[in-house]
Amino acid sequence: MTITSPNPETLSELDRPNSYIGKVVPRPNLERLMQGRGLYVSDMELPRMGHVVFLRSPYAHARIIAIDASEARRLPGVIAVVTGDDLAAVITPWVGVLSHLKGLKSAPQHALAIERACWQGEAVAAIVANSRAVAEDAAEIVTVEYQELEAVTDMRTALDPQSPVIHASLGDNLAFERNLDAGAVNAAFADSDEVVEADFIFGRHTGATLEPRAVLADWNEAERRMTIYQGTQAPHMVQNIAALHLRLQDSQVRVVCKDVGGSFGIKVHIYADEMATYALSKLLRRPIKFVADRIESFNTDIHARDHRCKGRIGVKHDGTIMAFEIDDLTGIGPYSMYPRTSAIEANQVVNLVGGPYLTKNYRARARVVFQNKNVMCQYRAVGHPIACSVTEGLVDLAAARIGMDPVEIRRRNLIGDDAYPCASPSGLRFELLSHHAALNKLMTMMNYEGLRAEQAQLRNKKIYRGIGIASFIEVTNPSAAFYGVGGARISSQDGVAVRLDAQGSVICHTSITEQGQGSESLTAQVVGSVLGVSMERVRVILGDTDNTPYGGGTWASRGAGIGGEAALQAAKILRKNILEVAAAILQASSGELELVNDTVVNATDGSPRIELNELARIVYFRPDTLPPGIQPELMATRHFVPREYPFAFTNGVQACWLEVDPDTGFIKLLRHWVVEDCGTLINPQLVDEQIRGGVVQGLGAALFEKCIYDERGQLTNANMADYLVPMSGEMPDIDVGHVVSPTAETELGAKGAGEAGTAGAAAAVANAVNDALKPFGAIITEIPLTPEVILTALRRI
């Protein structure tokens, strides 16, 4: 641990007697999920519910000449066949731009395509029937006459004058460009002893949540109210957007989010087919359910990471990194996603490259272009894997050029642990990071020297193993700087309401949401600790815009840091209120009392005074016995938003140990290590499992995952047999360690941990592969590292 509590002589809120903070306790909601008694949107049914199936464009770019649904409408069980023009009367189009991303442009997008389809998979008609099977039957007999248009598929030629412009009104295919020039880059490269360049290529991939996107929209014409059951990370955002485009007030829309079968950023956006489902419910005045099938998931869930990035690093012979320079290009599909936009990933890449290192000399250009492929947007660790792979790849190349050990060059260039607070060349403000402590811990955990010796020994036997190291920084706890300042109505604050019930149990309503990370658990742990109430007595309600405080939800690693702090502050108020009532009942002063083990006790000796159950009985049923004038308030609400720092940066370092078979090109992952620093660990087990899950998503990108498009914009592997994801057989055990540098911005001190694993995994793998292939003189800067890529680099195919 790098730092301890600033006032070690006094107990903080985190180390009260019977505290759950820092303890491994099981999540409260697991039994339901393990017994098959969860409630996912795909499980839900409502009376008179219709099922919608979308007919989707088979072309990447096509004019819609005519749609003939007459035969489909006659099929028994079909309720309606609806086209873009029909639906436009109910729901207005949107444009995915934010004002703080200067120059970002996009075109109006409709719930169903009107006149033109711009990617293979864009919905052009909606078929509603009394079962999904009947709707699919009907979809097969809807005929659409298309005129295929030339498709823009290669991001490298999207800006060429001879490429068609996808949206004529925009003038060109450039959605966004950002340039940054910090320090004295030209001079720094001129002063460098060596300058190394590389082109980094990242395969487009996607989230592949196991439960596809699912929504059930229920417009009640009598109440003039819409209830949307949706697996979303941000219920209040969905409420606002649905209301805005259905021309309703927010108060006319309720969003309910039950169990969610995986999200990872996939389910934090507004998708056209989901908007169409809301609109269909309003149009048809009945509940409408949409559950994407797997092909639809691949063709319409946001993709991510389709980047080509030229990188350049200058270095002195003593290992001093003089400058970084990047030129990043990314293709985002035909529209910027709504409402978070598709410029954020490129923007993050610019922000994050070089982030762990001392050099102040940094130049970057990022260009974001339109193309006729599926939309691309924020997926877990937005921009981080790109920035980390480019940075860490360049650092390794520089080390190799000057003949320095990869760990040593990092030691000489990582920002010192005593240098905080400080800022990066791109303007990121770091409150407190721990790169060196993390690297030192990693060296011990992995036995770096021992592995190097083993590697050398095995190389003599023609066994090619490699070690890859990747330091990283991670954006967590975002303030309004992320979206709010750009005009998006996406809340950066979260709220928690805590109430003591009539039997002394506690109910919390929180605006953060649960997709398996442990939001429910962390809230119960914080509230239980502050109130001195056992976790079994704490019930947490989330995911309901009618019944929780207003807030952002769970994304960008904000649940624990922001929602957890709101829970802590709300529980403190409730504790104060409880102790005041107890003091009145016991004719004591509240300062003499404390709450421990579900009981009000004497603060001095811990002797029990009144059980919470009894206190609640008196308050709710016999208030007549309280002293005159006492009006107990056993419910408290608090909200929290970070105000000091726009983001709470965390840091960490990963290492990968793998073996490459130069004959087959296969890579076997042997072990993976992560040391990260997310501040206060509320539940170490849950943090470790976030890290491990994140690492494996990063390993998938490193080795397997790629949405393969042909030159006509056809996605050729839109199924789980051809799009490879990590399975248990190929994945290594992952050791996780921590350094703890709490943020001083909150009493809780927690930062986020959701992106860390994904941020650095691919970089560690790529560096390990290059390390393994050193005897062959091959250098690869492309992922996924398929056998084909490896064998091509080895010139064996």
């Binding site: 099981p26 999540r27 697991l30 039994e31 339901r32 999920l33 393990m34 017994q35 098959g36 008694r37 969860g38 409630l39 996912y40 795909s42 499980d43 099977a133 989230g207 592949a208 949540t209 196991l210 439960e211 596809p212 169990d259 969610v260 079968g261 995986g262 999200s263 990872f264 099938d293 797997r294 997709q515 398996g516 990370q517 442990g518 087990q685 849950l686 499992e689 491990r692 899950g693 994140g694 690492v695 494996v696 998503q697 199924n719 789980m720 047999a721 994801v725 990590p726 399975m727 248990s728 057989g729 190929e730 994945m731 055990d733 992952i734 694993g757």
Partner: protein, 161 residues
């Protein structure tokens, strides 16, 4: 033959009589007709393992078998295995090890894990990884699941966890 077909089968110890269309797969029959929604649908083409159930003692992908094929069969789903207590120890270890996050893969994962534990008393980690390699989990990275199955195996063999 496209009209409904009569079938009778045993599901979680209860006799079920139904008329089903020949094209109806077992996953949809369980979920939509019997409301046994613990069996999840992830890919609908036999890859992800979320819909794994037990038919006549063997685990199968319920998206790849038709309901009409199951006349006279005995089917067990996660609801049945939970209510009978057959996997109570495995579920307890999954809970303690946090071997699930979103929970969507979990019923299928538990089915596959129990299948292995019945076949082989003390499988090593590699064998566990191999046996579960047809069940996709996007959340956990698998290690906690492997740990939980390994621990359960040791406990069943009479060793302390």
């Amino acid at each position: 033959m496209t009209g409904p077909v009569a079938i009778a089968l045993d599901i979680n110890g209860e006799r079920v009589d139904a008329h089903v269309l020949p094209r109806l797969n077992l996953a949809d029959f369980l979920r939509e007709h019997l409301k046994l929604t613990g069996t999840h649908v992830g890919c609908e083409h036999g890859f992800c393992g979320a819909c794994t159930v037990r038919v006549n003692g063997d685990i199968v992908r319920s998206c790849l078998i038709l309901a009409v094929q199951l006349h006279g069969a005995s089917v067990q789903t996660i609801e049945g295995l939970s209510d009978s207590g057959e996997i109570a120890d495995l579920q307890a270890v999954f809970r303690d090890r946090n071997a699930l996050q979103c929970g969507y893969c979990t019923p299928g994962m538990l089915m596959a894990a129990q299948d292995l534990l019945k076949q082989q008393p003390e499988p090593d980690r590699e064998r566990i990884r191999e046996h579960l390699s047809g069940n996709y989990c996007r959340c956990t990275g698998y290690q906690s699941i492997i740990d939980a199955v390994e621990t359960t195996a040791r406990m069943r063999a009479g060793h302390r966890a």
